[in-house]
């Protein structure tokens, strides 16, 4: 059986690691490559880098970060943020990422998902969605709405319907990020995650709200997620990947426990 995955999310701005609370108040907290390497050695399963750089001129810094990560970290990783075209996706994949994360651009141009899946395979395309709870309406029957542009612009799209559409278009995985839970460290949005996991046939990665190991347990069981994204829990040094995994194993969750920690590589 597949193991449940722990994925660390690193927000990168101008080449530096940043972390936001409810999508605002971002502050720089370190070097993303160094952090990625540290988590890799702790037994992390996968990484996601979101480029939150505002200006387009600085995009090349991100390509450089991707290349440096790929040379030091030998687990799968994806890159998102500002990917608008198949060419943008191609650049990060050639730099060494396994997967691309598309978000706002895919809402405006759903063909991006299909074109990227066709060019690189569905396994390389992750549809990332930022979701906010709202009043259920005929347009948004699930009561969860897709928000784009870093949490600023409501779209009127229903989150569950958009998840299904993304799967049809060829996305290989979904990241379901709750804006309401993001940065609060009060737990993942279980109901939303479960609703989407039960509606699609592709892996669902829960995001937003992870503050302690039991939150991961909840979303991987009750929330039916295949993987959980963590950020501040690790970035501020409060937990290690190994510590989180020990907790999950203790509660009967199957996770990967690397055994040969002394043997890494020559660097």
């Amino acid at each position: 059986m597949l193991s449940k995955r722990i994925i660390a999310c690193l927000d990168v701005r101008g080449g530096k690691l940043a972390k936001s609370v409810r999508f605002v108040d971002t502050k720089d907290i370190g070097d993303p490559v160094e952090q990625a390497r540290k988590y890799y050695l702790q037994g992390l399963d996968e990484l996601v880098f979101y480029d939150i750089t505002a200006s387009n001129e600085k995009r090349d810094i991100m390509i450089d970060v991707v290349g440096r990560v790929a040379a030091q970290v030998f687990i799968p990783f994806s890159v998102g943020g500002g990917l608008r075209t198949v060419e943008d996706c191609s650049r990060v994949l050639l730099a060494g990422a396994e997967k691309v994360n598309v978000n706002s651009a895919a809402v405006g141009n759903p063909r991006l998902i299909a074109e990227a899946a066709c060019a690189f395979g569905a396994q390389a395309v992750v549809l990332s969605m930022d979701v906010r709870q709202t009043d259920a309406s005929p347009q948004v029957p699930s009561g969860y709405e897709i928000i784009i542009n870093g949490g600023r612009t409501p779209t009127g799209l229903d989150a569950v319907q958009w998840a299904c559409r993304g799967e049809e278009l060829g996305a290989g995985e979904l990241v379901v990020n709750s804006i309401d839970a993001d940065g609060t460290r009060q737990g993942y949005e279980i109901r939303l995650t479960r609703m989407i996991a039960e509606s699609v046939g592709i892996p669902v990665i829960a995001s937003g709200g992870g503050g302690k190991p039991e939150h991961l347990y909840d979303v991987l069981t009750e929330g039916k997620a295949d993987a959980a994204l963590v950020a501040s829990m690790l970035h501020y040094g409060e937990y290690t990947v190994g510590g989180i995994k020990d907790y999950l194993v203790g509660r009967g969750i199957k996770v990967r426990m690397p055994k040969d920690e002394s043997w890494t590589d020559r660097s």
Binding site: M1, L2, S3, R5, Y40, G43, D45, A70, A71, Q72, F74, I75, P76, L94, A95, G96, E98, F120, G121, A122, Q123, A124, G172, E173, G201, I202, P203, D226, A227, R256, M257, P258, K259, D260, E261, W263, T264, D265, R266, S267
Partner: protein, 204 residues
């Protein structure tokens, strides 16, 4: 020097970076002559078996690989490179390289709540000792992304297995050929160690 075969099938950069981190000299080539004369070959890949085979034929790499195999060159296939060394793949009803008799078969997991592709970390169990797998411990996990799995005709060609709604071969080999369905280059320390074992392997 390890020669990585380039046939437009994805993860070449990842394999090169992993070898570089291990301090192992390598080069990427699409030239059949270089492949014929290679000292050691890694044959990676992601994507569609049919597309992979047509690029190999177009570039004359299919016959180069066969010749290298017959000469006794150590070859490591990864993912698609593990599938198309067999005789045939169900994916696109593709005639493959036939270095090892067998068939590549699609996962049938309907109604069992499992998803295809099989994507993520899963435990690999050694079923028959092999120098390339010498370091593996029970429960060691590797990273997989695939919808088809290799099924050699002769079960003696299976060296490791994995369980996903049923046991399937995860590592196969014959003589100087060894092939793994998982992505060793993305499987952390245990995967890097496998690549190093391959680099040091002398087939008998």
């Amino acid at each position: 020097m390890i020669t990585i075969v380039d046939y437009k099938a994805g993860n070449l950069t990842s394999v090169r970076r992993a070898l570089e981190a291990l301090g192992l000299p390598c080069r990427i080539t699409a030239d059949p002559e270089t492949v014929r004369k290679a000292e050691r070959i890694i044959f990676p890949g992601v994507g569609h078996a049919g597309a992979a085979m047509s690029v190999l034929r177009e570039r004359g790499l299919d016959s180069a690989l066969k010749e290298a195999f017959e000469r006794g060159t150590p070859i490591l296939g990864i993912c698609i490179g593990c599938q198309i060394v067999l005789s045939h793949s169900e994916e696109g009803d593709t005639t493959c390289l036939d270095l090892l008799p067998g068939e590549c078969i699609r996962f049938q997991v309907d109604g069992r709540g499992l998803k295809v592709p099989h994507m993520g970390w899963n435990a690999v169990t050694v079923t028959q000792p092999h120098p390339v797998l010498a370091h593996l411990k029970p429960g060691d996990e590797f990273y997989f992304v695939h919808s088809y799995f290799p099924q050699p005709v002769d079960s003696a060609s299976v060296y490791a297995a994995c369980d996903y709604g049923g046991i399937f071969p995860a590592a196969i080999g014959q003589g100087n050929l060894f092939a793994v369905q998982f992505h060793a280059e993305k499987s952390g320390p245990v995967g890097l160690r496998l690549l190093k074992n391959f680099a040091e392997w002398t087939p008998c």
